[in-house]
Symmetry: C2
Subunit: 204 residues, 2 copies
């Protein structure tokens, strides 16, 4: 079932776009995500976001898309909805059984947790004293993860873990101002400094 | 205001007990916790647990006790109640201002977070697929932290962090069976193996 809002939206990628090594299928109708993915020649990393609306109303095309996905990014509520399991670890196991190589569950102020067949990685959110506006935190998080993997070309578990920490860094900044405003003033140094704060926050 | 249930309970420690280096004031009327603490000669670590009942009904003696505490252990709801702050980082700052050297906030399935004047440390809970009974998880956690610090004599921030991971290990086992039953069969090897799993869970 196609969402009416996207009835006439059929993105056609340019030849250069089709050769991109990294694909991030942002949150939209999974049939459209699939049609976009079809156009890439040989991506080395396919990440995918989704939400409750698609899980509930377009489940079949979403499930059909999952075996083509390396990294599925969703929040804990969406993971429960997709799997029918309340426990996050069981939910992730069920979703992995649908085909994605790894499942990255966003847990808001509690951080994020990555599940794959071989391992689990958990990172806390940065404990900020002032959270101004959480809008866009999930997108900044995904953007940070994908941006790091694109910039470095890393495809190992260790690289993915570092990418998730960079995603957490980006999300921690985005909540400090309205919407995406904070990105306008954010410098590379700020990002690296907070990455080191994540190291200090978690090392034992 | 003294709770009636403990009206006649005035523990008298033996000479050997008074020389103990580590004191854990488990969850009870803070006036009693203070009267017990008074009996120790020169403890090098004083940890303290509490709960909503004492925060609400015996706030003054609890607040009077806090400057004598090195490590206050409470859950996120109790931290909010004691501080009047919803945000966990602001709640912890307010509680630190009351005098304890550090505040360890338990967050159930999301792990724990330690605040002191100089640093913050967060550790996730182990993502178990089967949680049988959460009863006693908080006590096992505190017991693991204090037990590690007692056994090793460590008093550094790094030592406290390792202790918190051992506490998290103990809590992760306790929820696998009814009440404290799991402790009957738990071997040292199991504990060390899961400690290494916590390293693998969190390293990046």
């Amino acid at each position: 079932m196609r969402d009416e809002r996207f009835a006439d939206f059929r993105p056609e990628l340019s030849a250069a776009q089709r050769r991109a090594p990294v694909v991030f299928l942002a949150n939209i109708d999974p049939a459209l995500q699939g049609a976009v993915l079809d156009q890439f020649e040989a991506p080395t990393l396919v990440a995918c976001d989704t939400m409750n609306h698609w899980i509930e109303s377009t489940r079949a095309p979403l499930v059909a898309l999952l075996p083509r996905v390396d990294l599925l990014i969703l929040n804990d509520e969406e993971a429960r909805l997709l799997s029918g399991e309340k426990n996050v670890a069981r939910a992730a196991r069920r979703i992995l059984a649908l085909g994605p190589k790894s499942v990255l569950v966003k847990r808001g102020e509690y951080g994020a947790i990555l599940f794959s067949a071989e391992s689990v990685f958990a990172v806390p959110a940065y404990p900020l004293e002032e959270v101004f506006d959480p809008t866009g935190a999930g997108d900044a998080f995904a953007g940070g993860v994908i941006g790091y993997l694109t910039a470095t070309g890393e495809r190992t578990e260790a690289g993915l873990r570092r990418g998730i920490v960079y995603g957490s860094v980006l999300a921690s900044f985005i909540v400090e101002d309205f919407g995406g405003q904070r990105l306008r003033t954010l410098a590379r140094d700020d990002i690296e400094r907070r990455y080191r704060q994540f190291v200090a926050l978690t090392e034992f």
